[in-house]
Symmetry: C2
Subunit: 88 residues, 2 copies
C-alpha cells in the first residue's frame, strides 16, 4: 500500500524565529496591517510504501527524529493519508 | 476578529526541487526504503485581524502573491481558521 505523508516542521515554542520576525517587521511597510505571530517552518511531502498505517507512522516518526528535524529546536507534525488503490 | 492563517508554499509541478531530491537520495543509506516523491516547501503560520473571512482571504492571497511566494515557480495553499472569541 502507498501512503501519502505530510510532515510540517516547526520551531518549538520559545526558539527564536528570525525569518518569521523579518516577515512580520516588513509587512506594515508593504501595507499589510494587523498581522502578528508569524512563524516559518518547513513542509515536506512524500510517499511511502508500507503494509499498514501503524508501521508507516513508526517509520516516519523515526525518520523525522533522525533526519528531517533537529529535535532540540524543532517539532514535527505528521499527517498520513492512505492513497487509493485500483487493485484493492 | 482574529483569524489563524496557514500558508503552505510548494514548488509548482515540473520545477526542480534539489532539496527534496537530496533527501530522497540520502534515505536508503539511512535504512529507509520505499520513500518516493519527496518535495520540500515552506510552511508559514500567522494571525490576522479582520472583519470577515472573505476580506482576510483576499488580503492573504495578495500577501502570498507579492511577498511570501515567487509566483513564477511556487504556489501557495492557504488555510484560514477563525479563532474563538470570548466576547462574541
Amino acid at each position: 500500500m502507498t501512503f501519502s505523508i505530510h510532515v510540517e516542521v516547526r520551531l518549538r515554542p520559545g526558539i527564536a524565529d528570525p525569518q518569521g520576525a523579518t516577515i512580520e517587521r516588513a509587512l506594515p511597510t508593504l501595507g499589510f496591517d494587523g498581522v502578528s505571530g508569524v512563524s516559518v517552518g518547513k513542509s515536506i511531502r512524500f510517499e511511502v510504501e508500507g503494509t499498514d498505517e501503524a508501521s508507516v507512522r513508526a517509520q516516519v516518526d523515526d525518520l523525522c527524529d533522525r533526519f528531517l528535524t533537529n529535535p532540540v529546536i524543532e517539532e514535527a507534525v505528521v499527517t498520513i493519508e492512505q492513497l487509493e488503490q485500483a487493485t484493492s
